[in-house]
Subunit: 138 residues, 3 copies
């Protein structure tokens, strides 16, 4: 059995947005009991992340970490057509993930207690981001 | 066909532990000949890694590399509730992977000659880490 | 339904090589309409990357970024049996991906407009790199 659905999320500029609930809803709708759920973002300046879901300072620290290793406006970047955040957004996407796969167990998304799924916008300004969810199993 | 099994590994603090044999055993037990094997760690302070399997200094160098780019106790971290290794553990997990997918070919895990699957504990102290293996195919 | 095929690519030393067309051909040949395409490189010194596909300076900047955070010949590396690029190649592989999964939608690889699939050779010299493509779905 397989279910595939494409969702759209409007981001409000750089930062993370929890999407665990929206993904869990697709898994429930699939009727699949045991299998895998794949989540994919169709962009190169936004990414997906499994991250600690309790303390928002974790994600704030990740933001500062990325700013430190791949700073906006760094003279190293040749690619800056869309601004100082253009190349750092691509680097952050490559270092994290365009796709995540999570087990489906007993009809539910099999995340650990402290794991949440986040859409991470890496551009300064907000964008509409397309995310395709594919649930496969039985 | 699909087989899903959850394993538990006790880590002894920061460092890597080879789990290729345990994963290969699940693949053998599945009876699946052609497909995919997905491995998932249900935590945000431990991760999975495909790494060179012959020379242990590769993993020692990776440890030092991570310590250099995300040092324990760095003043950049706001999130340090569980100690100086708390935030670096989350960063290392995000930079590596909570999930890996490996082809299953001729009934076996289709790794390259030099590829091993490692569970990487990022906290200073040991923890029990849950890993779910899902094998799908025919 | 499932189709699995192993391809070989000869790289010309450090740098990226677009392989979207070759992967899309395997998806077409599979006859699968809805599902997932998994791509896996059987090596620990070359990796796969989803990256912006329009401006080559993005990949040149990524190359320089990697050279900055994991320089060839860095005194931190103990593992240098195959030369100054040996350990950086393993680090780059761990920071990017040995495996990628992309949705298959309406019989086609469901990439975003600006997403391309790249094989990234991290060694100074060229190598023959094996890549296994597995398409699952219906």
């Amino acid at each position: 059995m397989i279910l595939q659905e494409t969702l759209a999320f409007d981001t409000r500029g750089r930062g993370t947005r929890g999407i665990t609930t929206e993904i869990a809803d697709v898994v429930s709708a699939s009727g699949i009991s045991t299998g895998l759920c794949h989540i994919f973002v169709h962009h190169t300046s936004a990414s997906l992340m499994l991250c600690e879901n309790a303390d928002p300072t974790v994600r704030a620290d990740l933001e500062r970490f990325m700013q430190r290793i791949a700073p906006d406006g760094d003279p190293l970047w040749q690619h800056d057509m869309e601004g100082p955040d253009d190349m750092p957004a691509h680097i952050r996407t490559v270092l994290t993930d365009a796709g995540l796969t999570v087990p489906v167990t007993s009809g539910r998304l099999g995340l650990g207690t402290w794991q949440g799924i986040y859409l991470w916008e890496h551009r300064t300004h907000g964008h509409r981001r397309r995310v395709t969810v594919t649930v496969q199993g039985e």
